[in-house]
Symmetry: C2
Subunit: 503 residues, 2 copies
Amino acid sequence: MNYFSLAANHKLKHIINNLIKMADGSSEALAPTEARGCPGIACLALKRLVVGFVMKVWNFLNKAWDLGHSDPRKVIHCLKVGMALTVVSLFYYMRPLYEGVGGNAMWAVMTVVVVFENTVGATLCKSINRICGTFLAGFLAIGIHWIANRSGKEFEPIITGISVFLLASAATFSRFIPSVKARFDYGAMIFILTFSLVSVSGYRVDQLFDMASQRILTIIIGTSLCVVITMIICPIWAGEELYVLITRNMDKLANSLDGCVADYFNDSGGFAGSDKESDKKLLGYKCVLGSKGIEESMANFARWEPAHGRFNFRHPWKQYLKIGASMRDCAYCIEALNGCVSSENKVSELTKKHISNIAMKVSSDSSTVIKELAKTMKTMKKSTAIDLLVGEMNNAVLDLQEDLKSLPNLFINPQPQLPQESDDCPENNNTKAEAEAVALMDIIPLVTLASLLIEIVARIEGMVGAVQELAELAEFKAAGDRKANQNQTTNKVVPDQHALRRV
Amino acid sequence: MNYFSLAANHKLKHIINNLIKMADGSSEALAPTEARGCPGIACLALKRLVVGFVMKVWNFLNKAWDLGHSDPRKVIHCLKVGMALTVVSLFYYMRPLYEGVGGNAMWAVMTVVVVFENTVGATLCKSINRICGTFLAGFLAIGIHWIANRSGKEFEPIITGISVFLLASAATFSRFIPSVKARFDYGAMIFILTFSLVSVSGYRVDQLFDMASQRILTIIIGTSLCVVITMIICPIWAGEELYVLITRNMDKLANSLDGCVADYFNDSGGFAGSDKESDKKLLGYKCVLGSKGIEESMANFARWEPAHGRFNFRHPWKQYLKIGASMRDCAYCIEALNGCVSSENKVSELTKKHISNIAMKVSSDSSTVIKELAKTMKTMKKSTAIDLLVGEMNNAVLDLQEDLKSLPNLFINPQPQLPQESDDCPENNNTKAEAEAVALMDIIPLVTLASLLIEIVARIEGMVGAVQELAELAEFKAAGDRKANQNQTTNKVVPDQHALRRV
């Protein structure tokens, strides 16, 4: 199948290339003779237009092909929609079904088109919103219709009109309120729609109650079909998507933190295997910077989903947003670090070497902590090693600070191999100060890098806190003799964390 | 009117407070007698439940009131929706109108509910999508219905079913393609909806062409009504919103950059007038960090809008996204700066004083540049001063670097007022080195602050570039003798910008 499509792909490319050549050839042929009259030019222009159009369509199809190829679940989703629509069409094709819903089959088709979404959560959210909104609005509209009906033919349109105006305005306003917008936006829209339709139709339709109940029935049929199909055939769970997004972003964050520092000290030696690959790895944190919107919508939909896979119905999805926010806090600093590091600074290799080992240890320890957090989330088991790793990371920070303290020695005695140069005449102080000034300028990027690393470590602790909170809320199981291990490591290696920030 | 509502507000609060007291009073009365039997407890529980419910509703209404109070345009939008629905209801109330559209008035009502959006751009986008999607799908469906009709009663449902399956799947897939999703998402959905409805109804409805044309007519009536009302009564333009958002965010960015640095050096002296106010000002940059989503959707809608106010039809809205991105780049660094600055570091006031003036000059110069950019956008005139201001900012950065160079002097001679302490015995070198180590640790936060400031300045230049590009694209007018002025200032004060980054 794949081979076949590749071959077809290749053939189509060939045809299009020929077309382009034809168009080019005719334009080249035209050049020497300069003008063949209007029809020739028009023909050429038409040809170019057609080729341009074909090229555009070709590019579009190519893009679509890549999209489907990279995420086949999208293709499956499309087939699911097609299937649901074909099934719901049976209400038209089969007479007993069509008459069963009194010719209101249209609403079932409409419901399927509007409600069927990519994830189970989104479909459920829309389905429940649609059913509740329709019910509520239907009952209200029938009530008001009853009142309006009693007050005579003259007042009926006035009462109905005023009620439509007031309720539609109020429901529209409710859509601006954040808590409503997040969960019931679609429901509010359906409320307005149903209320207006039912209460206004009442003026023309005789058996309003029958109509309303049949519509509700068709809507229930349509939503049920959607929910069943979306949950049974290759379901895409919003919760699972959120979970995968967060853990994958954690890995990206770890890789780019590590890569960024290593890249700075190695300077394209060792780390940068293939340029594009390493660049992609380095800039992984950029995904974290812009992931707020998708995380929020996924968390919103995940709350509607029943228990699935390893997640309960009341899995603390909101906590994932906190983890995401703490990751972004960290990514902001990596972005600043990346900016400072990639600016054209000239630090001598000697000075770099002085803290390179320890700085790389801090970054690799930090990224180990992040990877451990990702592992905690992937296995859904409380980590036994996290306290130990955090302690190690903090120790590395302390060592980094020690090394920073010893930097002045480096530039007081810039050539430690020549101790005979120790001068003790006060006039030399000036030139020494100058040398030191140069040396200080030399270490500024290093100092910045170090203090940003320290800030990043502090923010990683925020991530650790958020993940541990998730572990409590979601009742992750302990792995082995966690308690004892934890106490031991906490007492042994975790240094005073406040001291770390007093750099 | 306002006074009246305030009084009503007050009265309602009083009633609710009484209710709460009543419930509390009965619970207190209950305590000594311990038990009055089941009915008493049930009554109490019911009371508490009611009070809790009333409180919740009250809080919700309060929030809604605040929302409407803070942005009255939202209330106006709601009234507009109500009005549009009431007007479109006339198609039901007036017999000639109702018969004119052959009882398809429902589609006009539905269109109004679904298409009416907060901004003109969004309404236009949905309207055009709806009309085009309906047209395209209608014609296609009628064509396929005609073919299916010819092939006999047996094959009709099969041909229709397959065509629905294929076209619905393809259209659903197209909604995943980013370029389609951004502009034609709603149109694709309407395409699926109309195609399914028309081609499937064809099996039951006799005069399909009449039905389709009447539905298209009602949809055009509905969308026209929405577009007219949204554009005439207090229009909210997506473009204007985007423009205001960007300029306001620029001001916020400038204020928080300035405030952040001033706050650090002043340490709650002078700057922090009222705490809440200054905190809000300091954290203004947070708005910039999270504004990507809203900017993108506004820019998307703005492209559909006709010329309005000072904006042409083809105003380069996309450039605003670039400006927004450059602002976010800047905000990331301010976030890191804020983190480093607010961590518990202890820098002696003496050391701080050494670079406080110049650092504050850099920050105030930078924020002046940002404010000038905001002014350029507000007035839509090319700034005459921007090059001068950028030059000044860069000069301040050079001065900052000079001052950093002189920092070593400070910690070689920590007490400049006691020059007799100059020691010249080599044994003293060790203690001096220790003192210097402490002093270096002392200046680390300052160095970090300085180099982040320098990075921020580099990123502000990115903002300047983006705004100037906008000025070219949107053909902002020059203010006065811009050209001459620019050349003069460029030659005079702008230092080598690459040198600045080589700190």
